[in-house]
Amino acid sequence: MLNVTKTVENGQGTISLEGRLDTMSAPELELIVRDTIPGLTALTLDFEKLDYISSAGLRVLLSAQKQMNHQGSMTLTNVNPAILEIFEVTGFTDILTIA
């Protein structure tokens, strides 16, 4: 189960995730990101309430990062230690900006 809330103001977008970002929910986030990104100069993904991520979730993050590299910046906030370890193991800490 994944709950997504988003706010966009002056080219600054925030997407907050709650629950699990897995094979079943990743396509939903992918669609939201695709709708939100055009025109953004900064995107913040708030992971405070995200408990779980699998490779399907990483795939969405990577494609969002690739796109934001062309038009601005992307930052992940409030990443919990278990998810941070997934980023470390996969080398995502080198390509994502984690605040």
Partner: protein, 516 residues
């Protein structure tokens, strides 16, 4: 009417032979040609047979030697009509007995071959049956030996198997006690393989039907309420399409070179594994409860080892080391076991002898006590068999959650286990049966000292070793990176051990993670 055909039949004498035959068969029925002394038959001879068959469609040829059989086989005659081979005669004088099953005894006739001699002198049908079910089992991925010849042994029939350098588990256990744990592991592994094998409908008898017959039989020998409860317990076991061996003990598992083979396949059936465990309990313990020496006679080792082997195998099969749980399943097995033992003894006039009466009274006492405390014959094997489709991920994760409940594991370890299960299950769902779908079995064992989880995924899809794939390049920039292979890579990193094997037409991937 049986008519001999002799010598050589070719264009030189075919007309003559035909005339001789035709003069004798007019108006006869059930015509059989006995080819015992037939050395050769040419196409002219075959045409004679074709013409006779036109008037006598029931025509059979028996006692055909292998050269003539080959001709009849090549020309399609063996498919068109009944052609029975002559049976080679084999002697078992001085041959070592290597196995003893429900329907026959197995002897080693030379270094490479064994013969199974059937108890029933009218065994040709049984032999045919065993060959068919052994072939079926082999196709379904059970390593077994299939007989290549049918022979005569005295007045009985036998089937011959190639079994090189093979030793039964009974023999290994009796002579090499240090191999106990290895034998237990292989014995349990094979049992899980059998019970994890789904059999197409109608190919094998249904053990549940038989068990209902046993339960009905007991009505005359048990108090009414006990008999009713026994019947209700068996009736409540759902139909199951998975394979049962039916006579699974240490003499029916052979180690041939490095391969473990299952033999004595004539009792194959389908049903819930509790029926198998019932007859296994009997072989290891039930039979010999009053007379402990019986074990040595049947298995070649003493009852103490038999008890140890049974306990350890059951623990390995169930994937638990919890004594209470093992005991619970054993008690359910004993309900089935004693029912079979009592019925068998009574049908063999056990009530007419003192020993028989003592045994029956003992088994009955045990059964009655068990019936008071047994509410179901179903048990849990820590296994989930499920259609490998993405939509079932949630159910697989719920199964994992259930198994982990007792394990007291940290949220982080739990997340990593969930991640590994998701990655592997989704992989199977996406690729194993593409574009069709099929089943996956997920087995989860939590065991102790140090506490660890073992998760096994089994599918029958295309052979695929996920570990063979190269790890992704972690140093690449975001623009260069792709996400392919990340799931497997994560699984390898987050688990302590990942092992892949392809066996019996199955992909078997085992993950291990320490929880301490």
């Amino acid at each position: 009417m049986i008519l001999p055909i002799k010598g050589r039949i070719d264009s030189a004498n075919a007309a003559q032979v035909e005339q001789a035959l035709q003069s004798q068969i007019a108006g006869q029925t059930d015509l059989v040609l006995d080819a015992q002394d037939l050395e050769y038959i040419s196409s002219a001879g075959l045409r004679v047979i074709l013409r006779i068959r036109k008037e006598h469609p029931e025509l059979r040829i028996v006692n055909v030697n292998s050269e003539v059989y080959e001709i009849l086989d090549m020309t399609g005659f063996t498919e068109m009509m009944t052609v029975e081979k002559a049976y080679r005669v084999v002697s078992i004088a001085g041959a070592e007995e290597i196995g003893h099953g429900a329907n026959g005894t197995i002897y080693r006739i030379d270094k490479d071959n064994v013969v199974k001699v059937y108890n029933n002198p009218e065994a040709l049908k049984d032999i045919q049956h065993e060959r068919e079910v052994a072939k079926l089992a082999l196709i379904l991925g059970i390593p077994t030996a299939i007989s290549y010849d049918v022979v005569k042994v005295g007045d009985s029939y036998g089937s011959v198997f190639e079994l090189l350098n093979a030793r039964s588990f009974a023999k290994i256990l009796a002579n090499e006690p240090e191999k106990l744990d290895w034998c237990v592991a292989e014995f349990a592994k094979m049992l899980r393989l059998i019970h994890g094998t789904e059999v197409p409908a109608g190919k094998l008898p249904d053990m549940r039907e038989r068990a209902l017959d046993w339960a009905s039989f007991m009505k005359d020998y048990l108090p009414e309420d006990a008999a009713q409860k026994l019947y209700a317990l068996v009736a409540a076991v759902p139909h199951d399409d998975h394979m049962l061996h039916g006579d699974y003990h240490t003499k029916n598992l052979e180690l041939q070179n490095d391969e473990v083979l299952l033999i004595d396949m004539d009792t194959l059936s389908v049903g819930n594994p509790i029926f198998e465990l019932g007859s296994m309990y009997n072989a290891f313990l039930g039979f010999s409860e009053l007379d402990h020496s019986i074990v040595r006679k049947y298995q070649g080792f003493d009852r103490e080892l038999s008890a140890t082997f049974w306990q350890k195998s059951l623990a390995a099969y169930l994937g638990t080391s919890c004594p209470t749980k093992i005991r619970e399943v054993e008690d359910k097995a004993r309900v089935i076991g004693y029912t079979r033992l009592i019925r068998r003894a009574i049908r063999r006039d056990g009530l007419q002898t003192e020993t028989g009466r003592a045994e029956i009274a003992h088994w009955k006492g045990e059964l009655l006590e068990l019936l008071r405390s047994t509410d179901t014959l179903l048990f849990d094997r820590n296994e989930l068999e499920i259609e490998a489709v993405r939509e079932n991920l949630e159910e697989v994760l719920a199964f994992l959650g259930e198994r982990l409940e007792a394990a007291d594991c940290t949220p982080k370890a739990r997340m990593q286990l969930e991640l590994a299960v998701e990655e592997i299950f989704i992989n199977i769902a996406s690729y194993a049966y593409n574009p069709d779908t099929g089943k996956a079995t997920v087995r989860i064992e939590v065991s102790g000292d140090p506490l660890h989880v073992t998760i096994t995924f089994i599918d029958r899809g295309v052979p695929y070793d996920p570990l063979a794939k190269a790890d992704p390049d972690l140093s690449a920039s975001a623009q260069e990176r792709t996400v392919g292979g990340l799931g497997i890579f994560l699984t390898k990193k987050l688990m302590d051990d990942v092992v892949y094997e392809y066996r019996g037409g199955r992909n078997i991937l085992t993950l291990k993670k320490n929880l301490e």
